[in-house]
Each structure stands twice: as structure tokens, then as C-alpha cells.
Symmetry: C2
Subunit: 317 residues, 2 copies
Amino acid sequence: MDEGVVVGVDIGGTKVLAGVVDGEGRVARTALRTTPGRRVATNLVEDAVVAAVLEAADGRSLVGVGVAAAGFVDAAGERVMFAPHLPWMGEPVRNLLADRLGCPVGLDNDANCAARAEARYGAAKDASSALVITMGTGIGGAVLLHGKVMRGANGMTGEFGHMRVVPEGVECECGRRGCWEQYSSGNALVRNARALMADQPSVLMEMSGGSPAHVTGPMVTSAAEKGDLVARQAFASVGDWLGVGTANLVAALDPEIVVVGGGVSAAGDRLLDPARAALRQAVVGAEHRKIPQIVAARLGPLAGMVGAALAARPPLN
Amino acid sequence: MDEGVVVGVDIGGTKVLAGVVDGEGRVARTALRTTPGRRVATNLVEDAVVAAVLEAADGRSLVGVGVAAAGFVDAAGERVMFAPHLPWMGEPVRNLLADRLGCPVGLDNDANCAARAEARYGAAKDASSALVITMGTGIGGAVLLHGKVMRGANGMTGEFGHMRVVPEGVECECGRRGCWEQYSSGNALVRNARALMADQPSVLMEMSGGSPAHVTGPMVTSAAEKGDLVARQAFASVGDWLGVGTANLVAALDPEIVVVGGGVSAAGDRLLDPARAALRQAVVGAEHRKIPQIVAARLGPLAGMVGAALAARPPLN
């Protein structure tokens, strides 16, 4: 007998990943599609999502589908208001997909979904409160309270990367200056490495074919593993700023634990050790508080999809 | 027949204020004692609290007493861990007072209590989420979610004033540099005014008897009301920084409303208008979000006592 399946979908900037997720967060069959891009008709993205979901479900009935989108999702979890790599601009995505899939659909942004997965199955399990900081090209994140994601008045809680940490600082893609993610993110890591390469020898020169402009985040991670000093300094700076910014969030929110995910977190303690040291230095009331642990996310690149499955049945939380 | 009363107590740096508070937040009989100071036996503070409570109750039985303390209260709401103007260092204040008063006692810090009062009776009423920013000599605050105070893993949520906004910035009493409250607080207001007086004529010179070191916050407020340009510039800067720091909190938490209380907020729109302008400029995603209103707290100097009464029956929230 067909008991039906819950499918989680993670719509990223380059790919749409769908997977059947069971009640223990285990991923069974997955399916992948290419994200159609930003300058296409919106229904092409919906087509890709539907195709990936149906392939993952493999003929079984859909109990529910959860969708994680890299972008701003409104407070009600109904619409994708804006996404840098998708054509959606306020479309009622949840309803559109529910109609096409014939099952309940939940919708939230990718950082919130990843946080749900960490809260239920991962590093934030059993924590009364947690910050989840997602370090990719920029910094995203989420605030967990008793395992639930705080979504905020506009669904925009967790835009940590655009907290200003330096007045008149480095210019940010958001149009302002001095945003935290200009100092602590994948982009910052690469920028640090490129600047340091100007003055010091580095294997990154060879890895990038002699062109600092071709250095990527994974190259810096790999070079650091090989002991390259430029790469290690680049990580030390990003890690230090991670701790400084985290101290601000800890002052404001006093979470029990801080979980760091996203691509940059693959560097593990190379990133987290300087962050821990900086947090201890920078946090207020260190002598009167238990300083929260900074730990690596556990669910890796599947966190968004697994967490989306947790949001499969609206309403959110 | 004696139906009993609920008494709220606000233990500040200089005075202990107790008052009977009814179910609509109305304050009846109050009683005042002087705070004994930091270098005294802890039972002297307890004596002052008990005396003030009993005088306020005026012979009626105590249904419950809520205590707001200017200091760090532990996550369980049992102990005052540290308070700059009180001798308590980890004493189980809630239990001690419950034993002496013979009724349930609730304990929380003053900013959280004031926030409870604003949530129940004041400017944050009916808001799904709110930040309460308390501007006194420094910046304290609270985070409200569905009318409840987030207390945090250590009971230290809301230490907004020690978020770092300027690397290597102005030295702070906390031992670090660049804390937000060094740029936006009663102390910052006075420091700004003193610095500006060096170069510009100001009524503050006369008000302070010719000595900038004798300028106080209320003097600056009064001078600004009289049109004094130095005082107005001092407020403009503090207000601008209020908006910049608020933008960081809004990026992280996406609250529905921001309530500003504390002594400095008596200046009203002179403080809040520049803050509103700075928030609009500095907040991320302004084009995709409803920017939260910044409003003045409504309960004034009694907020801590009224909110303490709301915490009268443990457990907290």
C-alpha cells in the first residue's frame, strides 16, 4: 500500500534539489534540475520544481512538499518576494505549487529551512535557543527558539550579514558599507586571499593559473589544508570577524549555542577556532555568563532540503 | 474582605520603588526607600525591599510580589548574579524575598520588566514582536515575541548596548571598545555636548556654571528645548546612532515595532526623528520590507515597577 511521501525541495541559485525525506530526516530518492535563471518566465521555475518533486516521489502519492528558496519569503510563507537568482517577485509560490502538486506545500527561505533541520536532527538539537549562521558567498542565518524558527514581521529575521560592523567600511552588494558579510563570508575569504597574495608567496598563485582574480573559496580551503600561509591568514581573519559579529548577536540574544553552516564552514576548526577566541574576547559579561559554544552544522549541503521537508505542512511553526 | 494585592518593586541604583498594581496596570499606593548601596550587607537591600512592599501593601495580604532589579538576573529568575549598584552576587534573591514576604515572588531585570509593561499596557501592545530599547546612562533592552520576554540561555538577552559598532572605537565601561552605548545613550549625549561646547557658544555653559564637566543629560534635554544648537547637535548624533544600531537589530530580528524608553527617550521626536531617518537609510532590504516604526515607550518611569508586577507569579513566561 502507498503510504505517501514527504518531499523537500531546495531551490538554489544554480540547481533545484528534491528528495524524499522520512520522519527521522533520512533522505531516500533525490532528483536534480537546473535552476532556469532569473530572466525567464516564472512558470519555468515552477516546472523545474514540479518535475524534480515527481521524479523524487517516483509515483508514490505526496503527503506534503516543503520548499526552501534562496531569497526573501514573506511572513505568511506564501510568496517569494525577491530572490537574486530567480524570477519570482511576489508570486504566490506556495499556492501555485500546491495547486500543481495536489498536496499541501510549505515555503520558507533556505537559511530558515536549514536551521529547522539542525534543530530537529543536527547541531541545535535539544537547545532551548540557537543562532544558525550560514556562511556562503554572504552570511545568512536564523534564530531558533525552542526548536522553532523566528520568522519576523516580514519573514526576514536572520539577515545577519547586513549588520554594519565598520562605519564607512567595505562596500556591500546591498548598496551600503561595512556590512558584516564583507568581512566574514566566502567572498571575504577570497578577497582576503587575493590581497595577501600580492605580498606573499602562495600555492594559490599556481592553483589559480597565476591569476588572483581566478581564486575561489574552495581553492582557499584546499590551500589552507596544504599549509599555505596566505590561505590560513585569510581564514584567520574571516574567523576572527565571525567571532566579533557573533559576539554582537550573543549580546542581543543570549543563545544557548551557535551553529555555523554553509560552504565556508567546511573548513571546520580552521574557521571556528579563531571565531571562538574572538567571541570570548568580544562578548559582554563573559564573567557572568556561560559563553555559547560555536559548533559546525551537521547536516551539510542537504540541510536546506531536509529542513524544507519539515516545513511541508503549513502553517509554518 | 481583603482580596489581597500584587506589588511590583523596582530596585534601581538610587531608590527602591514599590507599588500596588492592579490587573489593568494601574498603580495605587506606592512606597519609596533609598537603595543602601553596593558595599553593604546584602540583607540591608532585602530589608529595604520588604519595608517598601509592606508600606505599599498597607496591611492588605500579598497575592504576589514582582521584583525588577537593575542587574543580571539568572535564566531561572532566581538569583541576581551581579548589579553595579547592589551588593548581590549570586544570592537567591527570589527565594529569600518569598520567605520573608510569605508569598510568591517573581524576579527579572529592569529592562525585561519594563518591556513586559509596554507589551501588556503600552507601546508594544498587540505587536507580534518588538524590540524595547532602554536608553539611560547606557543602553539596555528586551526582545518581545508574542508579548513574552525572551530571556536567553543566561537570562541576558537584550544587552544591546554592548554590540560593537566601531572597531577600536570609544572605550567602554565594560572594558572593550566601540560599544553602541558609547555613541547612543545618556552618557554619549553628555559627552557629545561637552565636546561641542568647546567650539560653539551654548546655554549649557551658563547652565553648568561655566564647567562642561558639570553638564548632565537633563540639562542637555532642557537646552535643546530652548533651541540651543549644541544640545540639538548632541541629540542629532545620539539619535542617528540609535537608528544605525537599531538597523542592525532589525536586520537580525525583523521586529514589528521598536519601542524606545529610558530617561533619554523623554526627548521624544528630537531623539526619535533622526533615529527613524537613520534606520530607513541603514536597514537591509528596505524595498522588500515594512520598516518597523520607532515609537516612544508609554509607561515612563513606572514601567519597571508595573512590569515587575506582571512577573509576580513565577515561573517567568
